[in-house]
Amino acid sequence: MAQTLFEKVWNQHAVRQLPTGQTQLYIGLHLIHEVTSPQAFDMLRARGWTVRAPHRTFATVDHIVPTASVARPFQDAMAEQMTAALEKSCLEHKIPLFDLSSGRQGIVHVIGPELGLTQPGMTIACGDSHTSTHGAFGALAFGIGTSQVRDVLASQCLAMTPLKVRRISVSGNLAAGVYAKDIILTIIQRLGVEGGVGFAYEYAGDTIERLTMDERMTICNMSIEGGARIGYVNPDETTADYLAGRLFAPIGANFVAAKKRWAALASDPGARYDDEVSFRAEEIAPTVTWGTNPGQSIGVGDRLPAGADPDSLAFMGFRAGQPIAGTKVDVAFIGSCTNGRLSDLREAARVIAGRKVAPNVRAMVVPGSQAVRKAAEKEGLHEIFQAAGFDWRGAGCSMCLAMNPDRLNGSEVCASSSNRNFKGRQGSPTGRTLLMSPAMVAAAAIEGAVVDVRKILTLEGR
C-alpha cells in the first residue's frame, strides 16, 4: 500500500506498542547540548543507568556560549559551569563533543546536517524544539524535553504517539526578494500557531522541490512555530548532493546504496494524508511579524490587520491598520538555526555590499557554526559585513534566545532572522522582535527601519 515517508520511517523504528498505547520508537541519532542535558545526566546517575548508545549520541555547545571572547573560563560563571557539566558527562559516557576548540562547533541544528550526521530515513531527537530542522533531509526529527533526553540516553528510545500527516504543497515561482523564510511565515500565518498540533508537516510541491537544502531547513525549522512537532521534505537528488562528501555521510559504494535507499523513502504517489493544503508561491511577499507570536505576520507592503490582537499591539506599541514598513529598528540580528547558514549570510551580504548600517542601529552577524563562519570568511563576507558596520561574531545561538551576553536592552526593536518573537525572547522583558528573512534584516539595518528589500536591491527571480 502507498505510504508516506512518515509511515515508512516510523514503522522501521517502531520497537513495540507500550501498555499505554504509545509506540516505543528507536532513535537513530541523538543530539545534545549544554542547556537541556545536565539534569538528564543527573537523572541517569541517580538511577544508576548508563548511556546506551554513545555512538549514536553527539554533543555540542551552542545556547549559552559567548560569541565575542571564547576564552575559558567564560566570564559568565554559569555558562562555564553548564559547559563544564556537558564536557564531564561526555567524557564519562564517551560521547563525541564538538566543542569550541573543535572547529566544528555550532548550533546543534546547523552542525548535524553540516557534518552529514543528519541523513534521510533517520529518527532524530534533541532537547530542543527546533529539531524539526533535520526533517529537511526526510528524517523524523523530534524536539524533546529533559526527561525524554534521559529516556533516549538510557534506552535510545522514546515513547511516542504517531502523528497525523498534513501535506503542505507550495507551487509556482517565488518573486525576487522572497525567500524560504517568507514561505514558512506565510504558512504559519495561514494555518495558525496551533494549527499543526498533532501533525507532522510534509512540505511538497514544485517550489519546495526547487529549494536548496539550506532553504528546506529554514522551512522545516519553523514547523514547530506552527504547532507541528516535526516537518519534513521528501529526499531527492538535492538531498543526496548535499550529503555527498560530508564527514559522517556514507562514502563510495555505501553512498550509492544509501542514495537508492533514500530515494525510496519519499512518500509514495497515492499515499493517504490526513489533511492537504496548498499555497501559491507568487502570492508570497517578503513577510514581517508585527506581533508576539510567529503567526502574526503580514507582507512588508501591508498594514496591520484591523482585528489585530490588542495585547500584542500594546506590547509592540503598534496600532491596527498602520503599515509595518517604516517601523524604526534599533538592532539587526542575522543568525540562528533558522537563518544562520552560509547561503543566508550570502544573501544578506548581497544587500549590504557597499552600503552602511544606519546610525543608531546595532547590527550583528552570528554564523550558525564555526564552519559557516570559516566558509564565509573564505568568501570575504565578513569584510562586507564589517565594512558596513556589522559586528562579526563567533558561532552560537546568541541573540536568538539571549542566554549569552548578546541581548536587547529596554524596549529596543530588533529586526531578526531568528524564529521567535515571543515577549522577552531576546533577553529584555520589553524588547520587541520583528521576524523576517536575512535579506530583509540586512535591508532594515541599512535603512534603520523596516523596508521592502526589493527597494534596496533588484534581485533576479527564480
Binding site: 522501521q12 517502531a14 520497537v15 513495540r16 507500550l18 501498555p19 499505554t20 504509545q22 516505543q24 528507536y26 537513530g28 542547556v35 537541556t36 545536565p38 539534569q39 538511577r47 548508545a53 549514536r56 549559552i64 554559569m78 555558562a79 559551569q81 557539566a85 541523513q119 533517520m122 532537547g127 530542543d128 524544539s129 529539531t131 524536539g143 524533546i144 524535553g145 529533559t146 526527561s147 525524554q148 529516556d151 538510557a154 534506552s155 535510545q156 522514546l158 515513547a159 496551533e194 498540533v197 498533532g198 514547530i224 512555530e225 504547532g227 559522517f248 544509501a258 535507499r261 507570536n293 534566545l401 539571549a402 542566554m403 521567535r420 515571543f422 515577549k423 522577552g424 525572547r425 522583558p429
Partner: protein, 199 residues
Amino acid sequence: MENSAITSVSGHAIVLRGNDIDTDRIIPARFLKTVTFDGLDANVFFDDRAAMRRDGGVHPFDAPASIGATMLIVNKNFGCGSSREHAPQALYRRGFRAVVGESFADIFFSNSLMIGLACVSLGADDIESLMKIVEGNPALVVAVNLESGVATAGGKSWPIQLPPHARHALISGQWDGAGLLLQNYADVEAVDAKLPYSF
C-alpha cells in the same frame, strides 16, 4: 522506578487567561542558566508578573488566592514554543498538579506528562464557565477525576478530554516511562541491528 498512580487531582485554582502562552513566558531563558530544576518555581512567569506590577496590576500568580493553588486554568495552545522542560517543572514545583485548558502544545504536553503534571482539556465554552466560576470564588475547589473523565467545581461538572495514552499512564502510575523502555531490551537491539545506517 515506581511512580504513584494519579487518578484524581483537586485543590483551588488560578485562572490565567490568554491563548498561545509560550514557555519563554512561563520561564524566561535567563532562568535556564542552571544545572538543576530546583528553585525554578520562584521565577515562574517572572517577566509577566513584573510587567503587571509595573502597570499597577496584580498577576494571577501574585494574587493572595494563588497561595497553595494546585490547579491552573488556561486557554488555547498553552506551553507553545521552546521545548524547555523547565516550564512544566517550574509549574510543578510551584505546587500545580493539573493544568486545565482548551488545548496544549505537543511538547509541553508530553513534558508535563513525564513529570506527572496532568494536562486535561475542556471545550472552549466549558473553560469559560470554569474560569468565571473560579474568578467569582477563588477559594473554590476544582477537581479533575481522570478515571471518570469529569472536572467539577462549585456543583457543576464538565467532561474532560485526555488522550488515552496519557490517561492510562497517569492512572496506572506509568507516566515516567523510562523503565518501560528498558524492558525486553533484546527487541530494541533487534530494531537497531536492522537499521540501514550507522556512524
